[in-house]
């Protein structure tokens, strides 16, 4: 019999907080923000981190802040770059999570991706992250870090192709973001959505339908009680569509 879920959650939270503390030099670098699956975990009360996600911390690096970040990498004494993938920094201690550096380029097309070549920290720059912008700052583990604005993060999760187990978990992460979003976040999301081209708007609506029909998963937000919110959001997004009802 494995450890009780509550013990897993506490241990994971400890590791997450310890990782944030250890990554302080880069997380407090100007422009850098925490993105990805850990965001809903950090948005929970007292950063409870109850969602079961992959054991890494995604660090979003705007490409125009990459040069400023690099000198700080030397201060990451508890991590080292992976030989296989140098944008991943693996922890020297099992009590920490991996750091996964990801490039962000606000001018990029959301469907494109490119590699920012660099000897020290090459970055894969995902176009979908062009929708993500800097939001609130929070203090966790003595580190002042920036989180994304919920609307952009939610939209990024919804335009990214979602297939397989990871894809479905990512959609449930989007549900976690939706659950903590305020009405003004949804207004912002709608504004961002309207600026997308037809194919991407369709991808958003399609992913909302997938999210609505997902079965509950252990350690993830239950879609069932939030299906009406998802349907309401889909209806709202459809309302301005010339093509679709």
């Amino acid at each position: 019999m494995g450890p009780l879920p509550i013990l897993i959650a506490v241990t994971f939270r400890d590791r997450l907080i310890a990782t944030i503390r250890a990554a302080r030099p880069v997380l407090e670098s100007p422009g850098v923000l925490v993105i990805g699956s850990e965001v809903p975990n950090l948005l929970e009360k007292d950063s409870a981190a109850t969602l079961v996600v992959s054991q890494d911390l995604d660090v979003g690096v705007p490409v125009d802040r990459h040069a400023a970040l690099k000198p700080r990498l030397a201060e990451l004494r508890l991590f080292e770059p992976s030989a296989d993938e140098p944008s991943v920094w693996t922890p020297r201690s099992p009590e920490l999570l991996e750091l996964n550096f990801v490039g962000m380029d606000a001018s990029q097309d959301p469907t494109e991706a490119y590699v920012l070549e660099d000897d020290r920290l090459p970055l894969l720059v995902f176009g979908a992250l062009s929708l993500v912008s800097r939001g609130a700052e929070v203090e966790i583990g003595g580190t002042r870090l920036a989180l994304p604005r919920p609307a952009g993060l939610l939209l990024e999760k919804l335009i990214t192709d979602r297939t397989g187990e990871k894809g479905e978990r990512d959609l449930l992460v989007a549900l976690g973001v939706l659950a903590t979003s305020a009405p003004e976040d949804l207004d912002e999301l709608e504004g961002l959505y309207r600026r997308l081209r037809s194919e991407l708007r369709h991808a958003v609506r399609s992913n909302l339908t997938i999210l609505s029909l997902l079965a509950p998963r252990s350690g993830m937000p239950d879609p069932e009680p939030r299906r009406s919110e998802v349907a309401g959001l889909l209806r709202r997004l459809e309302a301005g569509e010339a093509e679709a009802p």
């Binding site: 944008s87 991706a113 590699v115 070549e117 090459p122 995902f126 909302l208 309401g232």
Partner: protein, 124 residues
């Protein structure tokens, strides 16, 4: 560029190609799955009905969703108020999911969410 980065870029671009392909097909046969998911998304509850009960509901004026006729074999999919469904003893409740149970239901009655989604749940 590392081999891993090259592979991830290649995979991402492949997914983008497939998505663009899917988008171009959204009004064709392949788009039926999106249209079916969409109708289910607007349903708070789903029930499997005997054919004769579905026929009665249609006779009462409940309009079958076009997406049901796009499947083979075709299905009768109706939005019906919860109060009306409560009067059908043979209605069997299903989880609102796109799974084997839902797909095997010859007649599917859906209860719309309260914001009046039934009116907007027609085909894409």
């Amino acid at each position: 560029m590392t081999a891993v980065q090259e592979r991830r870029l290649r995979e991402l671009r492949s997914r983008m190609l497939v998505r663009a392909f899917d988008h171009r097909q959204r009004r064709h046969a392949r788009g039926v799955w999106y249209r079916l998911r969409r109708v289910l998304t607007f349903a708070s509850e789903a029930y499997s009905l005997p054919l004769e009960e579905a026929a009665r509901l249609v006779a009462e004026g409940h309009r079958p969703e076009p997406v049901g006729r796009e499947l083979e074999p075709s299905r009768v999919i109706l939005f019906v108020p919860a109060e009306r469904l409560a009067k059908i003893g043979s209605a069997r409740r299903l989880a609102v999911r796109l799974n084997a149970e839902t797909l095997s239901a010859e007649c599917l009655a859906l209860v719309p969410f309260e914001f009046g989604a039934a009116e907007s749940a027609g085909s894409d």
